[in-house]
């Protein structure tokens, strides 16, 4: 997927446990994003980052935190997983130098998370 890898691809966890999803890119893109995708809701932005240690909230950020200590890695943490966080999570990358100029965002393959 054009230098963007998400891990794990699948995870089942119990309610109340912390969970961390990882997004790794080899494109040296400045911007990174975390989305969740649910039936009937489409893709919704959770958090995004516009540089190392620079992050901001999206429309559905409650219950999630992020960290970006290196350009290539963007971590999404569910502080205490709930059943409502069962979803497919996608990471995406973009770069302001060519952002939205016939490239759009590049997405990873997703992480399917089930909270039981």
């Amino acid at each position: 997927d054009a230098g963007i890898t998400q891990s794990p691809r699948h995870k089942v966890t119990e309610t109340g446990t912390p969970v961390t999803l990882r997004c790794h890119q080899t494109e040296n893109h400045r911007y990174m994003y975390w989305y969740r995708q649910d039936p009937g809701h489409g893709l919704r932005l959770i958090h995004y980052s516009y540089g190392v240690k620079d992050t901001d909230k999206g429309e559905v950020s409650d219950g999630y935190s992020v960290s970006r200590s290196k350009t290539e890695d963007f971590l999404l943490t569910l502080e205490s997983a709930t059943s409502s966080q069962t979803s497919v999570y996608f990471c995406a990358i973009s770069d302001p130098s060519d952002r939205f100029k016939d490239h759009g965002y590049t997405f990873g393959s997703g992480t399917r998370l089930t909270v039981v």
Partner: protein, 108 residues
């Protein structure tokens, strides 16, 4: 409130039967409209970007058009391999806002 609405939610076509998918939007300051294709179990794959009303872009059997309030993705003589979910997204500020998608099924 910025909003993107796609219709229909699902579309079933016979191979060779042309049709169109709609994406209507209300945003403050459109900076670009994007179309993506998503196959089951995969991330969205970029198709087109449109920036201004009247703009059109084509790729194989797909053609995307843009007006001030909506965009259309026209599919000419579709094939079964065109079956996928098609997502529309608009850029406002620094973020993309996605519609819910249209699930297209093309039967041979």
């Amino acid at each position: 409130e910025d909003q993107v609405t796609q219709s229909p939610e699902a579309l079933r076509l016979q191979e060779g039967e042309s049709s169109s998918l709609n994406c209507s939007y209300t945003v403050s300051g459109l900076r670009g409209l994007f179309w993506y294709r998503q196959d089951p179990g995969k991330g969205p794959e970029f198709l087109f970007t449109l920036y201004s009303a009247g703009e059109e872009k084509e790729k194989e059997r797909l053609k995307a058009t843009l007006t001030k309030k909506e965009s259309f993705l026209h599919i000419t003589a579709p094939k079964p391999e065109d079956s996928a979910t098609y997502l529309c997204a608009v850029q406002t500020g620094g973020k993309l806002i996605f519609g819910q998608g249209t699930e297209l099924s093309v039967k041979p």
